[in-house]
């Protein structure tokens, strides 16, 4: 049977060498007497060597040698072994040991077949590591909802649950859950997800997002489901906090006293609170568009916010309402960058009507207080006038008794003079107490100063006072009550000339009227080198009907000046030194100047 012989040859010569496992034959002295090619490839040269020296690179026999056992009892066995391959690398293999039993029952040889499982055991180890260390809880459940396996995270949180029902051990239920992703997976073999609340052994609730997948076997059936759960407790807490923060913010925006408007990247208005609706007189629930809003805001404001440095603040501006009215507001616009050059906008709008009303009430109250103060001081002025009149009467009467014509003449002059003063006094007082509504228009600050200097030129010349005008030509026009400022300067220049007249070195005095602007503040200075004031005078200068000019003045001038300066949002300061001179300085910051009653938006 040549075919049979050929087959046997092939089996002997080739099969041994092509099977994917190492095969070796050892004798009773553990000498390797035969080995196939895969063996040689794995463990190296073997001829004339002991098995332990080849498998384990050892010089002595192994403890628990399975080969020795097989020589003893003649039974085949399978076990896992660890050895070293020909390059000394640790290798793990499953070894089948089969005794070759002779016809007399003796066992001269063992056939050992080794399958390398190094790779498989690494994978198994990795799988176990993954199973245990993955940051989620994993359990395997059988069709009875008994837990078959759990990973480390489950064991740490719940203890050992193996063999227990999932619903009782994870939730404390006596029966299966009404909604169960594992059951869904068991019924259709698909993956299912859901949320569950698990209770730990410490009684703490864990919110879990659960996915269940079938564990298919080779034949396509499955008896177990793997359940993987991610702890979303913290996420839910954050979500809750976010919800609270959001609703807090929403309430804040809704109830804010100032109007708040926000526009998103798409140009949609996403916030338009009640205060904003009130400002624009939007009394229905209509949705506003960006284009509609742009028309209501000051012209170019939105573009300024979007194209500028990102923040635009208008302390005083006007917006239109939808019914074409207008309102004074304080307006702030902010660009909100979202990256990629995309941006939204947020606006804050403060209705200034109430503030304006309070301001004008305050101004009125201040004026009334000044009037009150003035009335108190009025007595003083009147007393001086009466004294003058009485003096005139006395001179007249005593002159007549004595037949002294000179005295009568003097008395008449005194009467005349004081009657004139009474009428001036009354006129000025009425003018002051009535109050004058300021008329705002565009003025050239320097021109007002030049006008006043021109007006006083001849009077100054009469008293040999040199009146000098120093005006910075670069001051831009400003919105002011030109007449009011003119009146202020008139008062101050008049006073300065008087101070020069009262000075010791009469004849060589100067009055400077200076105008300049620094840091958006327009400054007027009236400086004289006249008599100056002492402490008592300075203290009273701006108070009531204080005058140092005896019957020559009413004491109203500086009070009026201060009032006008205040109405321009400015301040008036005084520096004076007895015998050296006086400086009055009016400071008018541009951003506080009054706004005209009507303005084009």
């Amino acid at each position: 049977m040549p075919e049979k012989i050929k087959l046997m040859d092939w089996i002997r010569e080739h099969l041994f060498n092509v099977v994917p496992m190492s095969i070796a034959v050892i004798d009773r002295d553990f000498n390797l007497v035969y080995a196939n090619k895969p063996f040689e490839e794995k463990f190296g040269k073997w001829k004339g060597k002991k098995c332990f020296s080849v498998y384990k690179s050892s010089t002595t026999m192994c403890l628990n040698c399975k080969g020795a056992e097989a020589f003893q009892d003649g039974k085949p066995r399978v076990n896992e072994e660890i050895g070293f391959d020909k390059s000394g690398k640790l290798t793990k293999y499953i070894k089948h040991t089969m005794p070759v039993v002779d016809s007399d029952g003796s066992i001269p040889f063992l056939v050992e077949m080794a399958t390398d499982i190094t790779e498989a055991s690494i994978i198994k180890k990795e799988y176990q590591l993954l199973f245990d260390q993955v940051p989620c809880s994993i359990l395997v459940i059988d069709r009875n909802f008994r837990i078959v396996r759990t990973n480390k995270k489950i064991r740490e949180t719940f203890g050992d649950l193996t063999g227990k029902y999932c619903y009782s051990s994870l939730k404390g239920f006596n029966d299966k859950c009404l909604e169960c992703t594992a059951r869904d997976t068991f019924s259709d073999g698909e993956m299912h997800t859901g949320n569950h609340v698990w209770r730990t052994k410490d009684g703490e609730d864990i919110h879990s997002h659960v996915s269940t997948v079938p564990l298919f076997k080779e034949d396509g059936t499955f008896d177990m489901v793997m359940e993987m759960a991610v702890d979303i407790t913290h996420t839910l807490e954050l979500e809750d906090e976010l919800k609270i923060a959001y609703s807090f913010m929403e309430t804040m925006i809704a109830t804010a006293i100032d109007g708040i408007i926000a526009i998103d990247i798409e140009g949609d208005i996403i916030i338009f609170n009640k205060a904003a609706r009130d400002i624009f007189n939007i009394h229905d629930k209509r949705k506003m568009t960006k284009i509609e809003l742009e028309v209501l805001l000051p012209e170019g404001f939105m573009a300024q916010v979007l194209l500028g440095p990102g923040h635009v603040y208008l302390p005083e501006a006007y917006v239109k309402t939808i019914d074409d009215d207008k309102k004074p507001v304080r307006l702030s616009g902010n660009k909100i960058e979202f990256g990629d050059g995309k941006s939204g906008m947020a606006f804050s709008i403060q209705d200034l009507r109430e503030l304006k009303r309070l301001e004008s009430e305050k101004l009125e109250a201040e004026r009334m207080a000044a009037v009150g103060q003035t009335v108190a001081g009025l007595a003083h002025g009147v007393k001086n006038l009466i004294t003058g009149l009485e003096g005139g009467m006395y001179m007249m009467n005593s002159g007549m008794k004595k037949g002294d014509v000179d005295r009568i003449q003097k008395g008449l002059e005194m009467l005349d003079r004081n009657i004139l003063r009474v009428s001036t006094f009354v006129k000025e007082f009425l003018n002051f107490s009535k109050g004058r509504k300021i008329k705002v228009g565009e003025c050239e600050p320097g021109k007002i100063a030049r006008d006043v200097v021109e007006l006083y030129a001849s009077q100054a010349g009469k008293f040999s006072v040199e009146l000098i005008c120093e005006t910075d030509d670069n001051i831009m026009p400003a919105l002011m009550d030109g007449e009011g400022i003119h009146e202020c300067l008139t008062n101050l220049v008049g006073n300065a000339i008087d101070a020069c007249r009262m000075s010791d070195n009469q004849g060589g005095n100067h009055v400077w009227v200076k105008t300049h602007e620094k840091d958006d503040v327009i400054v007027y200075e009236v400086v004289d080198d006249g008599c100056g004031m002492d402490y008592e005078v300075k203290k009273k200068v701006f108070t009531n009907f204080f005058t140092t000019k005896g019957l020559g003045g009413t004491g109203i001038g500086l009070l009026t000046t201060k009032k006008i300066v205040q109405e321009h949002g400015g301040k008036i300061e005084l520096q004076s030194e007895e015998g050296k001179g006086t400086t009055f300085r009016i400071r008018l910051p541009r951003n506080r100047l009054p706004k005209p009653e009507s303005i084009d938006i």
């Binding site: 007595a379 003083h380 002025g381 007393k383 001086n384 009466i386 004294t387 003058g388 009485e390 003096g391 005139g392 006395y394 001179m395 005593s398 005295r407 003097k410 005194m414 003079r417 004081n418 008087d498 101070a499 009262m502 000075s503 010791d504 008599c531 100056g532 004031m533 002492d534 402490y535 008592e536 005078v537 204080f546 005058t547 140092t548 000019k549 005896g550 019957l551 020559g552 007895e578 015998g579």
Partner: protein, 128 residues
Amino acid sequence: MIIDDEPDIRTYLMAILEDNGFSVCTVLDNTEVKKGVLSEKPDLIILDIMMPQRSGISIYKELRTCSALNAIPVALISGMMPEKDFIEKEFPALVDDKSVSPPDGYIEKPVQVEKLVALVTQLVEERG
């Protein structure tokens, strides 16, 4: 001696006092008061409080702190308030110095002729 910047008042007061037998002088430049007083050596000074350039209070302080002058009686004159208010409240506030003694007399505007004459007579007689 009358120190008042207002000519009408000065004329009036001088006329009253001259008519009642006093001899009256004045200092026109109130920065030169000390010099004037030293040269005139008056028996009484009537001093207005509210004056330009230099107030009566500052002159009063000077008179009171100068040993050569502080024996001369001084009456202050003002239209600001009645005598009681002035001596009790306004004067201490204006002077702001407790070492300065209050004036020997106070005349309120408008001037009552009899009162003025009586006060001047009394103060001059007291001085002897």
